[in-house]
Symmetry: C2
Subunit: 664 residues, 2 copies
Amino acid sequence: MWAASVTVALLLSTNVAFAQTFKRLGGCPRLGCVFPPDQTDFLVGQYFDIRLEVHAPVNGTETANGGVPDEKFTFCVQRGKGACTDAAKFFGVKEPALEKWSFSYFEDLFAQDAGASTAVNVASKAYRGLRLTTPGTYQAKLKYYSGSETVANWIVREPAKKRKAKNVLLFIGDGMTQAMITAARLIAHKSVNGRYQSLMQMDQMDYLGHQMTHSLDSFITDSANSATSLYTGKKASVGALNVYADSSPNSFDDAKIETIAQLFRRVIGGPIGMVSTAVIADATPAALCAHTRDRNQFPQIIQEYLDGASSVNSTFNWPTSCDGPDVVFGGGAENFIAGPKSPGGADYYKVFQAKGYNVVYNNKELQKVATDKKTLGIFSKSNMAKWIDRNVYPQNLLNQKNSPTGDGTDAVDQPGLKEMTLKAIDILQTRQKKKNTGWFMMSEAASIDKMMHALDYDRALGELLELDDTIRATIAHLKKIGEYENTLIVVTADHGHGFDVYGNADTTYLAAQTDDRKKRNAIGVYENAGLSGYTVAEGSLPTNDTVVYGSEGANFPVQWNPRYAYAAGFGANPDHREGYAVNQKGPRVPATKGSTGENEVNPVDQASGFIVNGTLPVSQGQGVHSLQDVSVFANGPGGKAFRGVYNNIDIFFKIADALGLGSK
Amino acid sequence: MWAASVTVALLLSTNVAFAQTFKRLGGCPRLGCVFPPDQTDFLVGQYFDIRLEVHAPVNGTETANGGVPDEKFTFCVQRGKGACTDAAKFFGVKEPALEKWSFSYFEDLFAQDAGASTAVNVASKAYRGLRLTTPGTYQAKLKYYSGSETVANWIVREPAKKRKAKNVLLFIGDGMTQAMITAARLIAHKSVNGRYQSLMQMDQMDYLGHQMTHSLDSFITDSANSATSLYTGKKASVGALNVYADSSPNSFDDAKIETIAQLFRRVIGGPIGMVSTAVIADATPAALCAHTRDRNQFPQIIQEYLDGASSVNSTFNWPTSCDGPDVVFGGGAENFIAGPKSPGGADYYKVFQAKGYNVVYNNKELQKVATDKKTLGIFSKSNMAKWIDRNVYPQNLLNQKNSPTGDGTDAVDQPGLKEMTLKAIDILQTRQKKKNTGWFMMSEAASIDKMMHALDYDRALGELLELDDTIRATIAHLKKIGEYENTLIVVTADHGHGFDVYGNADTTYLAAQTDDRKKRNAIGVYENAGLSGYTVAEGSLPTNDTVVYGSEGANFPVQWNPRYAYAAGFGANPDHREGYAVNQKGPRVPATKGSTGENEVNPVDQASGFIVNGTLPVSQGQGVHSLQDVSVFANGPGGKAFRGVYNNIDIFFKIADALGLGSK
């Protein structure tokens, strides 16, 4: 009932997503669109949908056929050099019904300023729940407007013959670049005469690679479409979770793709874990199990975790699902507490309990909970607290009224990524024992990205160091339980931010100056960058430094507020102020909306700093994602395949090969 | 004669380099200094000097011993757990004479503003031309001020037993980061639905690694000290070439270290090649053969190429030299043409000819010159022309009056990095034949860095693509001459710049706006970044794109000035204007000095753009280096060792191992 009403609301909505660079539709440069598009690779037997569209722009530069889309289009598929067979026959499915709709977009910024939109009428069909079970090359051909043709070249990759890894643990440092790893190493590991005395765990992994993160239709990616690529081996569009974004009004009817988690559940029947420091319906965890063009549909995403994609759009059947991941740990209690943000307004803690889940709300309960049942752990409203706030400035946990129970108290006993991940391993390990299936888990350090968006470099690096500490502890724990040799560990990111450190800032001198141009003279570059002030107590010689944060052990800064702080930045900023001092009162808010509705310098942020005018559209109050390749680190069986330079979609195939998923 | 007069001038100079972060002396946190300092690794038999200093600050926070340095300091060296033996005895050299001098520095920016300097009196000794020929651990102990001790732990690494590579070709993309490689790929290689249809040569190398670039005494590095690390396996200070920067006034008396090129010459006796698109006395080529604390001493550096370090400071003997590299190709004719910038004012083309060199001045002569003799090719005054200017905007080569002959004409026939590198291979290959020694060459794409400094992203990426094209052509050429299987190819950088692409810019819309904040709305982020406009002719469908630049083949942009340009930037800028359009009239000058002497927005640069106020000290008119690890790509024998994450000094040891240099 609830799902149906949501669907109706969406159908009535006129909020159609605009396409990339103000073009008509991502992944469809022609008037005839085939999804999956040209250059798509499949795992043998992986489920997918096909969406076809024929466009007739009514006005604008691409006006075609008097605005009437060709309803008589044909579509055939061929394997290798075989005959091109009508798709319904090729796949052995019923011919889909013709669908029709319209959408509009702006061709460029001038058109947008003038309010001059371009209307497009569409004729479409969708084929649901298909599979290609024979490796090889395929061509899918859409013919329309008597003579036009859109060809999609597909490859079903030859699968690995043998399963190498029993378990797979995929760590995602959201937004994490090599420049951030370098900066985290600088502040957390002591260096003597240019040589580190200890290293990041990532530095010590056995296999190193790089992955390219571009979207299907934009060279910049977001966490939804990049996670889609990592988990399905398919390129997608910004905001899309495991679907090819079509132009229809309904964000749940787009062509879907089966994910690595769904494959692990369907093919191997083993337990799945989903851990994140973000709202648990956020893109990176969501992409394990959910299918929607719009990553912001949090309630439906939670519903999909339990009941699959067909539960939010019952007009067709999607044959594969996560079927309730065995571990779901993260934030975002607002999507579980009965109310406007929960699925259908229901108490979703109860819904999970009714499906057999243990439910825990804080670290104490997490540590105590039995490992035999599926477990839901929701530890705060919104995103979880940051490592710095939990460990260095715990007063920032107060007065948040973010208890996951919804009782209006503060979520002061939140676990970190390490605590969640280690407990998740124990639960998955117990739950796989009966059939010895092994397990699959994704564990995300989500707030590397979230804090980089906020230009809160220190908090972002704290999250990165927590990720590294989690990997270190995970390796030790896997060794202890005898699963290390069986476990493929992959550490990577989904995209970058253009962050880098370029010197130091004498924060005392900077604060003492009253003129913005003089404040800039506090920056030391080249030889004046000097040494890291974070690894030694202020004023002590390198040999005299002492403690680190109690329970965390080494691998974190000795102090976060040295006089000589690192100076860092992005090429892409909102208007803001830079003072380079740690934000001791909580996560940074660099820009706020002024009276005009445009983002302006937040007057209370980094108050002793100097103003940096932005390079981003004034609609952006935060930093944005960037282009650069991100690093991949791997250990364990199947890990060798992660060496070298490749596309983000290849991560899916490498994991699938390690698990032997295509050989079944 | 000339050398002596330079030395005198330096002794009279009061221009003493200030130490890092306004500290007393880099690499010397205590009052007693040992160079090579703690944490130094040596190749077996590698020559080095030792410099000891005992400091007595007269005033300031470290005031000691009434400003009188301890002249009775002692210094001993021990191997393993052996007895600590007086150094002169340990090395079998004469006890050096005591040296004394003074220097001053500012303790911080407040002191600098107040003109309140700190004076330091120094007692010192230097041991010259030493070697450690037994692998193992060593301790060097300086005792001073009755009870103070500075200990340096040294390791002589166990050498590889066997030579793997006959030839070594080290490519350095100066300032090149993975973000730049990603951006270069974006503009030069066609992508269909998020998947590249061709790749960079670097992407296809067999072995991938990362190196950390920090200086000895600053976490930011420059091209001098990073090249020192790459070529000697030792950390050094900003500006220093193959020496440990001491506090003495003379920049040629610092403790020296033998380089990979000198080792190749001395141990194997094979030919050496030095190729750069920069002034050939610039830091990256200079560090192959020269020794000075001050990289700006171009005339002396050129002299050292031919006659070794002792020729510029004859007060002591440095026993190893490049002895005139067999190939010297680059720019910087001003250091060869008789005049104020050449060594001793002499015509250094003639000096090279007198030493048996062929000398060429343009690409035509370069192509024709015989391969049997040593060859000097100087192709322009100053740095050489950029790829974009040679290939896309050749009118920018005119009116430069930069002919290397000094005749006041334009250097219009300059070779590119590819032409220089391929010819260098042929010369080295011929010259090694008699003794079948193999050869060593460094080939530098210098202006990736120089153009990133100028915020001229397009020119920088053009240089990067030329480097990639050079590597591709080199592999093909080595295969053709039968040396590919014998040659270790290493491609890396010396440091980064915090460059990244974060979206696109609609340059037409941007130029049409009159308000700076509205101009910023021309930036498209995430889905609006869209596709690369550089790989297809404007307006054409992806299938219709056609030609690329004539002789260069593919792997470069089809156009450099698309309407939708990439939007990129740094976190560290001088005041400047951003319009994101290619600079068609020559390299960019983002900032110029205003009436106050401070750098301000250059009023004629990117005139249609919007103003971005800087984040750097107003003394900086350019971008600066950054912290991030840089990538290493390798092919060939010994290449496997370049996988993983390591320090820049390790590059030296990996190359030395591939050449078996320590086993002789």
